[in-house]
Symmetry: C2
Subunit: 107 residues, 2 copies
């Protein structure tokens, strides 16, 4: 996992913060499949994720319309329901407009 | 680390994604100090972080003015410089307006 190469601002970010239930219960396989599926959606710009107890996944999109379409994707809806049924103890989703950004790379 | 309890939207998020150089070099102690210092700043709403290779830290604020004041904090400026000198291989900072959010808690 690397830092997402996003275009000039403005663009959009979905911050998904979560804590998991115990055990894998098919989560790892589904998470991998959903990451691949998201990358094929119109308007997808990139994704970043990390977990050490708390999980943070940030996906980047070109518009609110692209985010809404991904949320309504049929296979993604199945995954979302399974997340509520089995995988997540708690989560919060924040839909954001990225106003400005800057970066640093060691010389 | 738990999911931040943020107020109703709109509010602001700073997404700081990074990869580290090898070794601690005082990073852990400074990160802890900066997290405490941030929590004392006007307009601070909460923080979430996770690292497994890639690090993602999201801090939440009430306004762009509060974010600018934190970026200009004298002790924080020292930490930022040390980050560029020693701790980070690469980072990206994204300043965002949180437009809407929703959450789930297991019953």
């Amino acid at each position: 996992m690397t830092i997402a190469k996003t275009p000039p601002t403005p663009y959009y970010a979905v911050i998904f913060t979560s804590t998991r239930t115990a055990g894998d219960n098919g989560y790892g396989k589904m998470a991998e499949a959903m990451e691949k599926l998201a990358a094929d959606q119109p308007g997808f710009l990139g994704i970043e994720s990390a977990r050490d107890g708390l999980g943070i996944m940030v996906s980047y999109w070109d518009s609110l319309e692209s985010i809404a379409a991904w949320k309504a994707n049929a296979r993604h809806l199945v995954a979302q329901q399974r997340g509520r049924d089995m995988w997540y103890e708690e989560f919060k989703v924040r839909v954001c407009r990225v106003e400005r950004d800057y970066d640093f790379t060691r010389a």
